[in-house]
């Protein structure tokens, strides 16, 4: 197992290196930080712009290969360079990664747990009222774009706030500036988490329902019933336990993908996280930030892949051998 993981890990490191390099080269070719200076009034002299860009390793007059070498050297040491106007990419992304992590962790965990529960109940009572209702609800959520879902939630929250005359839910940012309390953070967290969780729950419930339906008719579930286990015990301890294995793999991968994939939610609720920043930095011709976030995304996905492998091995003794 350890040897297997080590071999996988080496493969993943190579993949990350390739993905990050390609992302950097693409960003360096496609984006034009010089344009940011050209729009300034008064327009700075070209030599000054050159010097400024060169200081940040963004000067397009320098050969691409040499810029890449500089960037790669820095990246290997864990330094992703400077933004187009000189701020440290590392500091910025460190802050933003924290924001995204808090959002995604809460949203995904809640969504997965709810989705698995709903999917399991729906499968056990296949074609019953709960199954039909949850099917309708999950397809409803899946059909509605996140923008709409988020805004519906906001409208509902504002209505509830008005109704009760209290500020239960807060819509903008991670915390009220100047206030530092857990409650305040939670009030900010509820709506974006819910937006994320609803979408996740919809996907997970469909997936879990189908996985469970596949095993409910399995011989080993029948064996469990024949032993004298109640339906609930047979389904829980035997069927669901087995049906969770593929869902757990999916969970790990989703976590990796979401780290830079919650752009809409972050933007709407004013959470300045990685997804939001990726879009912003592409607009701002910020080559180094784009490359750094791409690199981070690759790392996140591959860490998720390792986590999925480990999780799979933990849940399924059949893959542990050799």
């Amino acid at each position: 197992m350890a040897g297997f993981l080590a071999r996988r890990l080496i493969g993943y490191v190579v993949l990350v290196a390739v993905a990050a390099s390609v992302a950097y080269l693409l960003a360096a070719v496609a984006l034009n930080p010089r344009a940011n200076y050209a729009e300034r009034t008064p327009r700075p002299p070209e030599s000054a712009v050159d010097a400024q860009l060169a200081a940040y390793n963004l000067n397009d007059k320098e050969p691409l290969a040499s810029r890449f070498a500089t960037w790669a050297g820095g990246a290997l040491r864990g330094d992703f360079g400077r933004t187009w106007n000189g701020a440290s990419v590392n500091d910025d992304l460190g802050r933003r990664a924290g924001v995204t992590l808090r959002l995604v962790a809460a949203g995904l965990l809640l969504g997965a747990v709810a989705g698995i529960a709903v999917g399991a109940c729906a499968a056990v009572g296949q074609y019953g009222w709960f199954d039909r209702l949850s099917t309708l609800a999950s397809f409803g959520v899946l059909a509605v774009p996140t923008v709409v879902l988020a805004n519906v939630l906001i409208i509902g929250a504002v209505w509830l706030n008005d109704l009760t005359g209290m500020k239960i839910f807060l819509v903008s940012g991670e915390a009220t500036p100047g206030v530092d309390s857990v409650l305040d953070r939670l009030r900010h967290l509820v709506l974006p988490t819910l937006t994320l969780a609803l979408g996740m729950a919809a996907v997970f419930s469909r997936y879990q329902r189908n996985m469970l339906l596949d095993v409910l008719g399995a011989d080993f579930v029948r064996t469990a019933r024949a032993k004298g286990l109640t339906r609930r015990a047979a389904y829980g301890r035997h069927a669901l336990r087995v049906a969770l294995i593929p869902v757990a793999t999916y969970f790990a991968f989703t976590f990796g993908a979401l780290l830079v994939g919650t752009t809409v939610t972050e933007t709407i609720f004013g959470w300045y996280g990685l997804g939001q920043q990726l879009v912003a930095s592409i607009r701002a011709n910020d080559v180094n930030t784009v490359a750094a976030i791409s690199c981070l995304a690759a790392v996140a996905l591959l860490v998720a892949a390792v986590a999925a492998d480990v999780l799979h091995a933990v849940l399924d003794p059949r893959v542990r051998a050799t």
Partner: protein
């Protein structure tokens, strides 16, 4: 004393009744055999007794356990009875055990479902039960997972779970169907032990009349959801009342009878010659080790052995038409090692194959016409022979536009045979061609194969684990064990006077559909299990660990078995140092 009484049991899935008016009873210590072909409703009947049918099944009638009505009883009451009074052993022991829980835990769970014991005590009892059903090192093996057990060991675990709470009735649904014959004999033994230990009534569902003959006190024959007849075992086999039962009995190939067959043309040319064939997967032991045999024109050559013995690997090596890792394969005079791509394609016309499971080997999205025409098209030939080919295998060419799933199992196998014959091959490889089929359908397909062989001058290489079938249709036979051929010769010679102890054990393990002979038989099942493909073999005879002859040899002759690997003498013979020793 009647323990279980079933009256007028009817099960419907939607409108169609799967079981209609089935009635039977079993007394304490009695074994009731339930036989029938697929779709006869035998499994549905016993699942209805346990109340484990899917919810859309409508069950009516009466099922009484100790006089207490079970149909319509509250689920809670049934749950309390299942596993305690009514225990069940299912067919496929791999699918029937939860893959993610430890063996010991699964047995302990059966105990804990009905007995208020500390978990630790239940675990200890589980280990005792595993010991009872003959699992070696039960304490250590209890911590293993199902995939680490062989099929026979898994079925022992199922039996351990069934007897965990000292049940009144044990229902067995085809418990030995997925197992090799020597392992089947062991499992039947273990079931006997379980019955003696618990004094339970046993309902034994099977399609194998041989198993029923040796085991059952009474037999119920089901056909299309109805009881055809129920009779004491001797009456059923010797004085069957209905034509259906008589036909069923007549259709069973008998391993204990000589078969008259027209002798193949002597000394015909060799259509297939295998010499010293070796195949190993990765760095494992050799799955096929120095195997040599020849198939002559007009001959049916049987290759038999238990799972993992290398017979399928041998087949695949031949079908590859490529250079083997070692040794030589000569098909119709052409050495496969020296073939160019083009020559290989041409040779493939003469060598075709029919697989075991027609459901899996026919593409469900292709029409029968396309399936049969595919080999013709692949070789750039016109597809106008398809209707003729379908008629040849007894199918109506008018049905060529339909899909495989519209046909019965036997018809599907006919389609597969038509496809194999499309290119007018000279050698047909048959890989367990009838083992997925019912007894009566089997007889039809076998007859078809015999007819085709005579009419088209084919030669067959038949791979099968059903020894009775091989005795019925093969001219020569080779017995494989652990990657090697241990005995080879004319089929009558090998079956009537087997010389290798393994062949003897294999033949002795096959139950015959004759209650008197089954009862008279001295039961001494072969110990141990057939070695899997990955096992490494020490020097000497590979069979000696299970060999009854070796076990009784004096030190001096036994040392030969340890130090020297026995080889086949010539074209016929047994690879054994003491072919006449021991049991005779």
């Amino acid at each position: 004393m009647t323990v279980l009484e079933v009256r007028d049991l009817t099960v419907r899935f939607g409108e169609t009744p799967a079981v209609q008016g089935v009635a039977f009873e079993v007394a304490r210590g009695e074994v009731l055999g339930v036989v029938g072909e697929s779709g006869s409703g035998k499994s549905v009947s016993v699942l209805a007794v346990l109340g484990l049918l899917p919810r859309q099944a409508a069950v009516t009638g009466s099922v009484r356990l100790h006089g207490r009505e079970l149909l319509g009883a509250p689920e809670k009451e049934l749950t309390a009875l299942r596993g305690r009074s009514l225990a069940m052993v299912f067919q496929d022991p791999l699918a029937a055990l939860t893959p993610v829980h430890r063996i010991g835990d699964q047995v302990a769970e059966a105990i804990l479902a009905h007995q208020d014991l500390p978990r630790k005590q239940a675990r200890a009892r589980a280990v005792d039960l595993l010991d009872l059903v003959g699992i070696p090192e039960p304490g250590r093996r209890a911590r293993a997972f199902p995939h680490e057990f062989s099929g026979g060991m898994r079925q022992r675990v199922m039996i351990a779970m069934a007897v965990a709470n000292d049940p009144d009735v044990i229902i067995c649904d085809e418990p030995t169907t997925a197992l090799d014959v020597t392992v089947q004999a062991q499992i039947l033994d273990v079931l006997g032990t379980a019955r003696r230990e618990t004094g339970a009534a046993v309902v034994f569902v099977t399609h194998d009349l041989g198993v029923v003959a040796g085991l059952a006190d009474r037999v119920m024959v089901l056909r299309a959801g109805r009881v055809e007849e129920t009779a004491p075992v001797d009456d059923l086999f010797f004085r069957p009342r209905t034509a259906y039962t008589r036909n069923l009995l007549a259709a069973v190939p008998r391993i204990d009878r000589r078969h008259r067959r027209s002798a193949p043309p002597p000394g015909g040319e060799r259509v297939l010659q295998v010499e010293g064939l070796v195949k190993r997967y990765g760095r494992g032991a050799r799955a096929v080790d120095r195997v040599s045999f020849a198939v002559r024109a007009g001959e049916t050559f049987g290759l038999v052995g238990e799972s993992g013995c290398g017979k399928t690997t041998t087949l695949m090596e031949i079908l590859a038409l490529a250079a083997p890792q070692a040794g030589r394969i000569v098909v119709l005079g052409r050495d496969t090692a020296g073939l160019t791509r083009r020559e290989r394609l041409e040779l493939r016309r003469d060598l075709q194959v029919v697989f075991q499971d027609p459901m899996a080997s026919l593409d469900p999205r292709m029409t029968v016409h396309d399936i049969v025409a595919e080999p013709l098209r692949a070789h750039g030939l016109a597809a106008d022979r398809v209707p003729e080919l379908l008629r040849l295998v007894g199918l109506d060419p008018g049905q060529a536009a339909r899909y495989p799933q519209d046909f019965s199992g036997g018809q599907r196998q006919r389609i597969a045979i038509a496809r194999a014959l499309a290119l007018a091959p000279r050698l047909l490889v048959l890989d367990e061609p009838v083992s997925a089929l019912d007894v009566s359908i089997r007889a039809e397909v076998i007859a078809l194969l015999a007819d085709l062989k005579a009419r088209l001058g084919l030669s067959y290489l038949l791979v099968a684990h059903d020894l009775a079938l091989v005795r019925g249709i093969a001219d020569r036979v080779a017995v494989m064990y652990a990657g090697r051929i241990v005995e080879i010769g004319p089929v009558e010679a090998v079956f009537a006077e087997p010389r290798h102890p393994y062949t003897r054990a294999l033949l002795a393990a096959v139950p015959v559909p004759d209650p008197a002979r089954e009862r008279a038989r001295r039961r001494a099942p072969l110990r141990g299990e057939p070695p899997g493909g990955a096992a490494a073999y020490p020097g000497g005879c590979r069979f000696r660990g299970r060999c009854p002859v070796y076990a009784e040899l004096a030190a001096a002759p036994a040392s030969r078995c340890v130090n020297e690997e026995p080889e086949l003498g010539g074209a016929d013979g047994a690879a054994c140092h003491h072919p006449s020793g021991g049991t005779r």
